[in-house]
C-alpha cells in the first residue's frame, strides 16, 4: 500500500486514491513509424528489479497524472514530479544515483 505525494495538490495520497498507469517516459510512435518502433511503443515494457519510473493518476483527488520514481524491490520512493516532464528532473536523478550507485540511469 504505497503512499505517493501528488506533485500538483501536495496530498500524500495512498494507493487506493491513485490509479496506476504503467511505465513513464514512453515515446509515442504514430503513422509512418517502423514496425519495430511501433511494437516497442505498444508492447515492450521494462520490468526492473530496482529503480523504476511510473505513471500514476491522483484519481480520487485532483485528477492529475504524475510520475514517480521508486524501487520495485524495496518500494522506496525517490520522488514524484509532474507528467509534463520529458525526462526525470536532474536533481531527482542525482538523488537516485547517490542512493543507488549501481543504477545505470533511466533510459
Amino acid at each position: 500500500m504505497l503512499i505517493l505525494e501528488c506533485p500538483y495538490c501536495g496530498v500524500k495520497a495512498e494507493e487506493t486514491e491513485l490509479q496506476p498507469g504503467g511505465e513513464a517516459h514512453l515515446k509515442r510512435f504514430g503513422p509512418g513509424s517502423s514496425p519495430e518502433d511501433f511494437e516497442a511503443y505498444m508492447f515492450a515494457r521494462k520490468n526492473p528489479k530496482g529503480v523504476h519510473f511510473e505513471r500514476w493518476r491522483h484519481a480520487y483527488g485532483c485528477g492529475k497524472w504524475f510520475l514517480a520514481a521508486r524501487c520495485t524491490a524495496t518500494l522506496e520512493v525517490f520522488g514524484t514530479y509532474p507528467a509534463q516532464s520529458p525526462e526525470p528532473p536532474a536533481d531527482l536523478v542525482n538523488k537516485i544515483k547517490a542512493k543507488r550507485p549501481e543504477w545505470k540511469g533511466w533510459k
Binding site: 496530498v11 486514491e17 485528477g63 492529475k64
Partner: protein, 183 residues
Amino acid sequence: MAEPVSALGGAVFEGFATVREIGPLGMITLRAKPDVPGLEAAVRGAVGTGLPARRQMDWAKDRGCGWMSPDEYLLILPHAEVGRALAGIEAALKGQHFLAVDVSDARAVFRIEGEKADQVLRKLAPADLDAMAPGELRRSRIAQVAGAFWAGEGGYTLVVFRSVAGYVMGVLTHSAQPGSELA
C-alpha cells in the same frame, strides 16, 4: 419553471452525528489556469471571493470558491444564480482559454453535524482529517466513491456525484449508527 429537486429530497439520519442531504446547491466547474487575465475578477463577480490557494476554499457568506486542481475551481452559490454567474464568467473571460460549466445537478451534497461528525468521515475516507488545514478542501475517497469535503459550522460538508447519493447516504448512515462512536 418547475422547482429543481435534489437527489434524495433532503433525507436525514440522526445517529451519533446528524447526516442531512442538502441542496440543490449551485455549483460551477471553472477550468482555467490561475494566471489567466481577468480570472480573479470573474470569480469575484460570480461568488464574491478571491482565488483560493492550493487545496483551499475561500468564502463570501454562502458563496465560495474551492481549489480543485492546478487548473480547476469549484464555485458554490445559490442554485438559482448559476445561469447568471455563468453568463458573467463568459463575458469576463471572453477571448481567454477557460471552461465554465454548470455541475449543480451532477452533485449531491451532505452535511454531517455534531461533536463527533469527524468520526463518520474517519470511517469512510483514507484522508488524514487531523492534518487538514483550516479552510482546506479535501478530495478523497468515500468508501467506494469519489468525494470532496471541508470542515466548518459545526460539521463537515461532503460533495459527491448525484447518481451515488443513495449509496453515500447508506454508508454515512452506517457510520453514524448510535453506539458506534470511536471514543
